[in-house]
Amino acid sequence: MKIIAIVGTNAKKSYNRMLLQFMKKHFESRAAIEILEIADVPMFNQSDNQTNSEIIQTFNEKIIASDGVIIATPEYNHSIPSSLKSVLEWLSFELHPLAGKPVMIIGASQGTQGSSRAQLHLRQILDAPGVEANVMPGYEFLLGSAHKAFDESGNLNQEGTIDFLEVCFLRFLRFAKISNQLNQEEEFTYNPGVYEVNAIGHSGKLPMKVSFSETRIESIDIDAKGETEGIADVVFVRIPNKIIEGQTLNVDALSGASETSNAVIDGVAKAVKLAGVNPDILKRRPKPASSQMREDEEYTCDVVVVGGGGAGLSAAAVALQQGASAIVLEKYPAVGGNTIRSGGPVNAADPEWQQQFNENPGERQTIENLLSTDESLIHPEYIDDFHALKAEFTAYQEKFGTQKAHLFDSPLLHRMQTYFGGKRTDLNGSTIYGQYDLVKVLTDNALESVHWLEDIGVEYDKSIVFAPVGALWRRGHKPVKSYGSAFIIALSQYVEENGGNIITDTPVKQLIIEDGKITGVIAAGVNGQKITVHAKAVVLASGGFGANTQMLKEYNTYWSHIDDDIKTTNSYAMTGDGISLGKSAGAALTGMGFTQMMPVADPETGELFSGLQVPPENFVIVNKKGERFVNEFSGRDVLTKAAIEQGSLFYLIADDEIKKTAANTSQEKIDRQVEAGTLFRADTIEELALKVNMDPQVLRTTIDKYNSYVDAGFDPEFHKDTFSLKVEKAPFYATPRKPAVHHTMGGIKIDTKTRVLDENGQPIAHLYAAGEVAGGIHAGNRLGGNALTDIFTFGRIAGKTAVEEMKGL
């Protein structure tokens, strides 16, 4: 028999160690006892997971391979030493080698007690869930007065003591043999067939179909319509694959989606039960082989991209187009980042296409207002463009006079709106505005980005020109597929089909800097292994820090207050990793104090597309009393500030026609939300008011006034100037909304070629940044629809520059 003996203390001098050494010698003809020391085991800390360290792994492997374990404990303060407790905590956190393992407890102390109380505690600890050792009952071996119990050569000096130790140890060998039979898997057969079960997921029930043959789980199909897109759908592929691969329920949850992962595992467990088998048998099986691989990996390529969102995938795609090799490292189980969560419209002035659409009432007024800006308030680098835009618009006015015209647009208008829209002053009185050269690149290349995506395989719905909230203008090219998934699916397919390598579940931890030069990155792999990528260029495309509240608060200079529990519309992956990586190489940061709130986010989840998310010309925003309080067509921060003044929570009122303009939803989804009480519906405005605790008369008056302003094309109260539909056709809806963190404008300082700049404005060789990780473009406020323009335009430039500079062009 192979026995592992653990010395239960880190002390250099220990009678418990002597006792185990004696046993090893004394019983060598009966069992092979290997003694393990715990002095090098770090203090357990669940926030600093060292499960994969060599020492913990050694304990785990040796215990698993043994036939039984002896633990010798001293007694410190009536209990076991902290050093022993720490080992047991590591061995019951992510690993459970003691589960079902036969264990013998012994102890020595210098007092008369022989560590009796510590032994009792140890018994209770070993019995706890997560440890679940099989401790031998009775046969307590307590060695009191230990300092007198050994002779000079380390042997016990009392015959009676040795006799009793023999009795206990031989009993333990027998106990271990029988106890290990319990650990052998019992035989079972499934009742073959398909079983339908419901797992409880993040947003309700997940219907699942699990099919069995007599010996195997054959397939797992999940109907996941109700779950959040993006990360959740990875769960529905990855977890079933792992379960089937290992024929086991001992499967790790995916990071960032533990609730959904566990729902899938529990659902399959239910099905196993229906098939006539105890799911506990499958929970005790080892993890699938692919989860146990922990070999370090090394790769070499031309361009390594940090982050698999829109910017990163664009950079990789262009690098491949230029004939270079590319690897994309994505922290999350799936690519997509925030791009996949976005509404989908890309801003790009495309006058040829936009001419098909009629102007809306009030749109000319918007441009007139912009052009009547006092020139002393305009920064000198933008003045020439301002004059050129004036000339463009004058020609348009002369052409149409008072007739209904087509929609006006030009890259110049896009540029000036981006500039005016981004100009802000923070709480310290510092003013920020978009860096001219970057804004020029953005607006001049926007249309090229739209076309390039079309070549890659993105299909647009050309029948509608879109203005997402805070866009200020209708120039959004919206894909046919919902959300930003259209871009991500097309781009990731393109990258993979053209020889690029996308590695998910692999957060980049550091840049490799050799002799002051950047030569690659080091990342952590899915099972904690080290992934090294040697590359000639590194592109940071890891997004912003909207999901890192601490960092938001640290840099914030714009909002009077950021709540600790503020929600975000972002993916939880957006924690500013790339900004930290850039800083480690000496990158300068710019505009970090300015963050954008999305005023119209779900109060509970921060999601954008719950309830009825309609274009802002159809927003009717009312406070908790049922009164309007803001021009609904304002920029995002104006709406946010107004909302915060009203106590943050407000409602979007819609009717049946406005409902039809809601993005990324369906009747089924709407009905489900009404049922869940997260969206309110009623047949009259008055009934709707009662449902959301408003005075029916107040809401009635508000809606009547709003409808009259739509007719007049003029809003004397809040000066909304772009209208579309009235609120008149039942049923009526109220969607609760609250501001949530949406975009971090600040970031790494770059030039027009996306080269990362240091504090002296000098490029850091072979390091590039694109997308939300970079700053300088959107300044104090980003226009809705400009983020996608930014990532695809600068992402492409990053890929191009990286390859050019690598080749020394």
Binding site: N10, Y76, E89
Partner: protein, 205 residues
């Protein structure tokens, strides 16, 4: 105003026991000054080779903790439950105190605990009582009073306040009793004429 030291019994970044102490600090601010103490930066306890060394070269952080315990009129310990017992990192802090300065001797102590499950760290609290009662620690535990916070992940609102009015009332009662217990214990000890023996000891010798 009583002045208490409240020890967060874990090194985890996210801890409902820390939240519980932060709530008490705020909630009882008119009755007592409660200072929170984090044990995560203490080194792991290891016994000296020579018993003579126990009083020498005490790590700075341990000295600092000892001083704070000495200055406080009482100590509150919030413990999570790991494997039916107190976390190793909390045990390590107590081992340092018992092995070096023994400043918990006769110190009034109140135990609270929170757990994600429904039992509210009951078994860890029972262990902690036995540990604090050991001769080298010798704390004055407030008898027969338990505060167990089960299902702690949903026990606090966004501002960190305990949601259940019943639980708040229970905590208030126990805390007021502890203030009283501190006063009485202090008075009792002032009348004792027993000399405190500083006994050097080791667990292994």
């Amino acid at each position: 105003m009583m002045n208490y030291l409240a020890i967060v019994g874990t090194n985890s970044d996210v801890s409902t026991n820390r939240m519980l102490l932060q709530f008490m600090q705020k909630h009882f601010s008119n009755e007592a000054k409660i200072d929170l103490y984090e044990i995560k930066d203490l080194p792991a306890f290891i016994e000296k080779e020579d018993i003579e060394d126990a009083e020498v070269d005490i790590p700075e952080q341990v000295k600092d903790l000892s001083d704070r315990i000495t200055k406080a009129e009482g100590v509150i310990i919030a413990t999570p439950e790991y494997d039916h017992a107190i976390p190793a990192v909390l045990k390590s802090a107590l081992e340092w105190i018992s092995y070096t300065t023994q400043t918990l001797k006769n110190k009034p102590v109140m135990i609270v605990g929170a757990s994600h499950g429904s039992l509210g760290s009951s078994r860890a609290q029972a262990h902690l009582r036995q540990i604090l009662d050991s001769p080298e620690l010798g704390a004055r535990l407030m008898p027969s009073s338990e505060f167990l916070l089960g299902k702690s992940q949903s026990a606090f609102d966004n501002s960190g306040s305990l949601i259940s009015a019943e639980k708040v009332a229970e905590l208030e009662e126990i805390f007021r009793e502890f203030v009283l217990f501190t006063e009485i214990t202090t008075e009792l000890l002032s009348k004792r004429t027993l000399k405190k023996k500083t006994k050097k000891f080791s667990w292994q010798e």
